[in-house]
């Protein structure tokens, strides 16, 4: 194996890739521009929607308002509630979105407060309408306030203190730091995004420099040169790794810009505070590097095996979907992996990332992840190199 020959192939492929608009789009434009804009956009529109529904008063219709004057007073006083009369078919108005809530008060509602029979209020709302949900939250709070008032006045009549019905008061204190909270949220979404970035960036070029070369007939010209087959495969492998890693790093930079912009990047996240120690940062990339190597080896293997671009794309799709699925498992909270599961590629990365992002360094998990990913990457690479020596693979028609 001559490193100089590998370098020749590598630079040829890289310079071809950077002249290819499709590679530039998948390697630079999508991770550095498209993803941040997507996240900022989602965050911005979620925030705008929330702000709008929070600022607008809720239009609420009441049927039988004369039966609950005290409750009506509470509702009327609240400036975020806009009480309206809808004597004729208020249900239809609710359905049409003209009102957001319909309260029905029965005739016998306002009898003696001390009567020990609960009275029902029926409230209709539309769970598919954001404004209706906001109205529900507001009215629930007001009814709760009113209920509390009744309890207090009943207790007062009986000469009892409010603590009589509240024997225990619990105070909750969250001990997690801001960084840990951020890490926990990032741990959910980041592995999934990283998997997408690694695959999206490398997919096109991995297929183009293997199956694409077969299709265009340029491969034969390499095979009759003085390069060995293994040198050609290695040159191409390093190319795919470079493109995949670039896409991922640019993606992470793009996402950092999005997350660090105080534009409510994720809707719920006002501003992400990233304050990882150097060792966590190092371990994060230590675990990430073999994943790039693994994805590149698998994509290269598929590209070498396939007859042409089209066939390679067909083979890549299920692999990509499978990778996304494994990456997506990290999105669900509460799942804990058993030790042997840390040998499943991508899944192990997701969960190791999760741990690292909240500051846990579990060497057993890190080593399992490294061993498994490096091992499978090497196997895939050797199979790719082997296939590259097979006539029935190189000259399939």
């Amino acid at each position: 194996m001559n490193w100089n020959n590998i370098r020749l192939i590598y630079f040829k492929e890289i310079s071809g890739a950077i002249r290819d608009r499709r590679t530039l789009i998948s390697m630079i434009i999508i991770p550095l521009i498209f993803y941040p804009l997507l996240f900022l956009g989602i965050g911005y529109f979620t925030m705008m929607g929330q702000e709008k529904s929070d600022s607008l008063p809720s239009i609420v219709a009441v049927r039988g308002r004369e039966h609950a004057p005290e409750l009506m007073e509470i509702l009327e006083k609240n400036e975020k509630i806009d009480l309206v009369y809808f004597e004729e078919n208020p249900e239809k108005a609710l359905e049409a979105g003209k009102i957001y809530l319909l309260i029905e008060i029965p005739e016998d509602f306002n009898v003696n407060k001390s009567q020990e029979i609960p009275r029902n209020i029926v409230v209709q709302y539309d769970s598919t309408v954001q404004y209706s949900q906001v109205a529900r939250r507001r009215v629930t709070n007001l009814i709760e306030d009113y209920r509390q008032q009744i309890i207090e006045s009943r207790l007062e009549q009986l000469g009892l203190n409010v603590h009589y019905v509240q024997p225990i008061k619990t105070q909750w204190a969250d001990i997690s730091s801001e960084e840990r909270k951020t890490g926990s949220i990032l741990g959910m979404i980041l592995p999934y995004i990283i998997v997408i970035l690694i695959f999206i960036g490398a997919m096109h070029s991995a297929v183009d420099i293997t199956a694409g070369e077969k299709e265009r007939g340029t491969l034969a010209t390499l095979l009759v040169s003085q390069l060995s087959r293994f040198e050609i495969v290695m040159g191409k492998y390093f190319t795919v790794i470079t493109i995949s890693a670039t896409s991922m790093i640019l993606g992470l930079i793009g996402l950092s810009i999005a997350f660090l912009t105080p534009a409510y990047a994720l809707g719920e996240l006002p501003l992400i505070k990233i304050n990882f120690s150097f060792s966590i940062f190092f371990l994060f990339f230590l675990v990430l590097a073999p994943l790039v190597g693994l994805a590149s080896a698998i994509l290269l293997l598929i590209g070498i095996f396939a007859r042409n671009n089209k066939e390679a794309s067909t083979y890549v799709t299920p692999i990509y979907m499978g990778a996304i699925f494994l990456g997506m498992i990290s999105l669900s909270q509460g799942i804990e992996l058993a030790e042997p599961m840390f040998f499943i590629p991508i899944l192990n990365n997701s969960f190791t990332f999760k741990e690292l992002l909240i500051g846990i360094v579990n060497w057993k998990h890190i080593l399992s992840t490294l061993i498994s990913n490096i091992g499978i990457a090497l196997i895939a690479l050797f199979v790719a190199a082997y296939l590259f020596t097979r006539e029935n693979v190189l000259f399939r028609s």
């Binding site: 034969a220 009759v224 006539e391």
Partner: protein
């Protein structure tokens, strides 16, 4: 320069079973000679040339190129050959200069050798005016000239051309044929496959007629005419195929 002895190549296909693409063929080709492999599609020409170019290994038999065995000394063989086929493509996003420089480098040439060789070849092939234009902007003729330049940059003594004129217009095909003659004059050994009779007749010093993997006849055009005295090469070709079919 090229010696092919009892060469056989068998493929195994899941649907069609065992296919003998090349069946026990023998021939040899000298320095300063154009040797033509003539046969219809599927005759075994491409397989034979791929074996000569070390892209495929023979099932049995022996092939020597400039004295080197294509299996045991594949690397040495590749130093001695230039390969061009109608199917070989070029890198669209590179210019002719970049393309030729790359192929010079991967054939072990130094920058100086490449510069010298490239200037000379571009001059001979009339490529100077498009040497810095991207390949995807070139005409078919220009591309074919570049393919030739790419194949000969390392000045190999043996040239293997597999249907180099297929798909080319008459003018470009003529240019290619002119250069093949020129390479013979330079003393190179050229093995050339075609399914076009007139090309073989015009160009080749020796012709091997190949059909369904078998070598039906080999020799100079005069010798072939002596053996099968029926007129031109086309008639000889069909007569040989008919004879083979009867057997």
């Amino acid at each position: 320069m090229i010696q092919v002895k009892n060469l056989t190549k068998v493929f195994h296909d899941k649907k069609r079973g065992k296919i003998t693409a090349v069946n026990n063929i023998d021939f040899h080709c000298q320095r300063g000679q154009i040797f033509g492999l003539l046969g219809p599609n599927g005759a075994g020409k491409t397989t034979t040339l791929r074996i000569l170019a070390t892209m495929m290994a023979p099932t049995s038999g022996e092939v020597l190129v400039n004295g080197y065995n294509v299996v045991k000394a594949a690397h040495k063989v590749r130093q001695n050959i230039g390969f061009l086929s109608g199917e070989t493509g070029l890198y669209d996003r590179f210019t002719p200069r970049e393309t030729v420089r790359f192929f010079g480098k991967i054939n072990g040439m130094s920058e100086n050798e490449i510069d010298k060789g490239m200037t000379q070849i571009f001059q001979i092939l009339g490529m100077k005016h498009f040497q810095d234009v991207r390949v995807d902007k070139l005409s078919t003729g220009m591309k074919q000239k570049l393919s030739i330049a790419r194949a000969i940059i390392h000045n190999p003594p043996v040239l293997i051309f597999d249907e180099p004129t297929v798909g080319l217009d008459v003018i470009t095909a003529r240019v290619v044929i002119e250069y093949i003659r020129e390479f013979r004059n330079q003393g190179k050994c050229i093995i050339f496959s075609t399914h076009q009779m007139y090309e073989a007749e015009k160009l080749c010093d020796e012709i091997a007629i190949i059909h369904l993997g078998k070598l039906l006849s080999v020799g100079t055009l005069e010798n072939l005419k002596k053996d099968v005295p029926v007129g031109d090469l086309e008639e000889i070709f069909f007569r040989l195929i008919e004879k083979e079919s009867r057997i």
